[in-house]
């Protein structure tokens, strides 16, 4: 048997920077951050954008407006717990709400694929109407484009939203401070698993439904307790982990989570085990994380638990001096590990 020598070792050269857009650039992970930092920010640089929050906060004639936009390309169009229409309303309402804003008006732009059945389009639009009414927002302007068959996948929707931010609310991802508490409004991973189960044709004992919901009334209830909440985010693409990593990076602090405190439904856990996924990286569409000063944490938590969308709210961790820029987790066994931001999408492991 030959002896293996160090000089025989063979390693690939690292790949050069990306020449083309990869799917991972849309994953909400490191590649997405890279895209924003390297392509968009240098060109569009301005103070409102530099906050890098889910919405811009703009002062116009003394009014503080929250302004945001989001595009929806979900496949399948209809899934347990929602569809692309309700998601397009909830997503933009939530991006406004994470700035503490009362959402007011939405735009809706549709990119439709040639050949799309009207029945499908009507169903989506009806669902948008219902979601908007329930959230108390109006769709006040819009646009439609039709592209050749194959140029898009049935329907893509963009919604833009405007809302009003109450005085005294200054939430931003760079405001977390050591000692603050990390609050989570409920169980994670439901939206991502609902979509994946539908796409892969997986059957579970009970159907896992998307948590898609408009969170602005929950946010309002939390701000009733104190307007001095440091920051809120809804952990959508990239899951809880990516959201907390963004906050840790922007505030230059560490975040330490307690694994036992993070609620995950049993069926979601089971699906994740089966699919080789970690629920910390799976998308949510009706959950929020809030960074709250320690002295206000109990009262804010109580307000969350009194709201239908925050019944399962928990304190899941705290902000630390240590490990600035990193999210770590105290595991169920009492050890500590990193909860990293993924480069791209989560990939199932081979075995």
């Amino acid at each position: 048997m030959p002896e293996v020598k160090e000089f025989q070792l063979s390693c690939p050269l690292p790949l050069s920077s990306h020449d083309h857009v990869l799917l991972g650039h849309g994953s909400g992970g490191k590649l997405s951050a890279e895209l924003v930092q390297q392509v968009f920010l240098p060109e569009f640089s301005n103070p409102a954008l530099a906050r890098l929050d889910d919405q811009a906060i703009l002062t116009v004639n003394g009014c503080r407006l929250a302004f945001t936009t989001d595009s929806f390309v979900v496949k399948p169009l209809f899934f347990p717990g929602g569809d692309i229409g309700s998601l397009a309303v909830h997503g933009t309402v939530n991006d406004l709400a994470m700035g503490g804003a009362q959402p007011l008006f939405l735009s809706a732009a549709f990119i439709l694929e040639e050949g799309l059945p009207f029945e499908v389009l009507r169903r989506v639009v009806r669902s948008m109407k219902q979601a908007a009414e329930a959230a108390g927002v109006q769709v006040v302007t819009g646009d439609t484009k039709v592209v050749e068959k194959g140029s898009c996948d049935n329907i893509f929707i963009n919604t833009t939203g405007i809302g009003l931010v109450p005085d005294g609310v200054e939430m931003s991802a760079d405001r977390a401070r050591p000692g603050d508490k990390v609050l989570l409004s409920g169980a994670i991973g439901e939206h991502g698993i609902a979509i994946l189960a539908q796409r892969e044709g997986l059957q579970f004992e009970s159907s896992i439904e998307s948590d898609s919901a408009a969170l602005h009334t929950l946010v309002a209830a939390m701000l009733e307790v104190t307007r001095d909440i440091r920051c809120m985010r809804d952990p959508t693409r990239g899951g809880l982990s990516s959201t907390l990593n963004e906050i840790a990076a922007q505030s230059r602090i560490g975040i330490e989570l307690d694994e036992r405190a993070i609620p995950v439904r049993e069926d979601v856990k089971g699906a994740c085990e089966l699919l080789g996924l970690d629920p910390l990286y799976v998308a949510n569409e009706g959950k929020l994380v809030a960074i709250v000063k320690p002295e206000a944490a109990d009262d804010v938590l109580a307000a969350m638990q009194n709201h239908p969308l925050g019944r399962q709210a928990r304190v899941i961790g705290s902000v630390t001096h240590n490990n600035a820029g990193l999210v770590t987790m105290r595991t169920t066994l009492g050890t500590s590990r990193i909860v990293d931001m993924l480069a791209g999408d989560q990939l199932p492991r081979i075995c």
Binding site: P12, R349, I350
Partner: protein, 372 residues
């Protein structure tokens, strides 16, 4: 979650750790072979719980990591053909070849699809008779039966547009190479539970006998691994060298006879190159001659061609347990999961990637607390 939570119970874990602490009287170096086991150790921070005398080093059992560069290059070349649909397990897509990876090939127009089972690749071939479907058949003995079954089914169905790019490797030859190294430090092994579920454990008994080294077949949950460590420590402290089976709920002595039958019908043993290590004799599978029409390398005339892998990192020493990931100067700086320099950083199951992903904060802390 029933049948999972039982194997993650903190109280039992700490009881096992207490037993290990009590039993250890001097330093021992243990190796877990399988990448899935490495992943669990890092994810749960099991090494943090063990007494300092026990050193866990991480073995070569990450199939994604050790798939040679030229096979990745071939997969990318096939995927880039307009007439081909390349079907793969998910975590192969991010692995860099000489110049690209499959994600980049996909962005440039290649039709690359991820599946959980090779049978799905057969279905894709049935559904796309005008296209050529190639399944990238990688892995250890664990994935070999299912990959063999896909070829078998394709034959039964009379498919003419299905083939497999085979890069299968076998665990025991790599362990034999590792144990034959004069610089070998490993004194006890946690053998790969899922490989043994298929293969049974007579091959491992041979290794135990040949090298007089203790071995415990271990599972993949935290309690499996802690129990396997305890069993190894008991053996080492008592001066025994035998094969024990911790993962008895899955592994039988004879393994899975039917799975092996399919595997041996379709595949035969051959020499294979391991990324980061080099060629190892009789360490892999290729298709038997009677299944040659399903061999993508033959179908597309790609038998020739290797890729020179320029050497910089210490991956062979990591894969053979002689060094640990943080011993490498490039670890976490020039070499990260986004830009891997070597085999163990390319997949989540690779030792370097697992360290980076879960433990780099502890690595830093160790360095500041214990300056060398």
């Amino acid at each position: 979650m029933q049948y999972i939570d039982e194997y993650r119970d903190p109280q039992i874990a700490h009881a096992l750790v207490a037993k290990i602490v009590k039993r250890v009287s001097r330093p021992w170096v243990l190796m877990e072979i399988c990448g899935g086991q490495t992943h669990t150790i890092m994810r749960y921070g099991l090494d943090e719980l063990l007494p300092p005398q026990l050193e866990l080093v991480h073995g070569p059992g990450c199939p994604v990591c050790v798939t040679p560069l030229e096979m990745i290059d071939k997969a990318i070349a096939l995927a880039s053909r307009p007439d081909v649909i390349l079907v793969s397990y998910g975590d192969m897509l991010r692995v860099p070849g000489s110049h690209s990876d499959m994600f980049r090939a996909k962005a440039a127009g290649a039709d690359v699809r991820i599946v959980y089972s090779p049978m799905e690749a057969v279905k894709i071939a049935q559904a796309n008779p005008q296209r050529k479907v190639v399944f990238f058949a990688v892995g250890f003995e664990t994935t070999a039966p299912a990959n063999a079954m896909a070829v078998w089914q394709a034959k039964e169905l009379g498919l003419t547009n299905f083939s497999v790019l085979v890069s299968h490797v076998l665990v025991p030859p790599a362990m034999r190479l590792l144990l034959s190294q004069p610089a070998n430090r490993v004194q006890g092994f946690i053998a790969p539970g899922h490989v043994c579920t298929i293969m049974g454990y007579s091959e491992y008994e041979d290794l135990v006998h040949e090298f007089q080294v203790p071995m415990v077949i271990g599972g993949f949950e935290p309690l499996d691994l802690l129990e396997a460590v305890l069993m190894l420590v008991e053996q080492l402290e008592a001066g025994h060298a035998k094969l024990e089976n911790q993962y008895a709920r899955s592994v039988a002595r004879a393994g899975n006879v039917q799975a092996r039958m399919v595997m041996n019908t379709v595949f035969e043993v051959c020499d294979r190159k391991w990324r980061g290590i080099g060629s190892i004799g009789a360490s892999g599978f290729r298709l038997r001659p009677e299944f040659a029409i399903y061999d993508a390398e033959r179908v597309f005339g790609m038998e020739e061609g290797g890729a020179e892998e320029p050497g910089e990192c210490i991956s062979a020493l990591v894969l053979l347990g002689q060094k640990k990931p943080p011993d490498c100067t490039a670890f976490g700086t020039r070499c990260t999961p986004e830009n891997p320099l070597g085999a163990p950083m390319v997949s989540a199951e690779g030792a370097c990637a697992a360290y980076y992903r879960y433990r780099r904060h502890a690595v830093d802390r160790q360095e500041t607390e214990c300056p060398k």
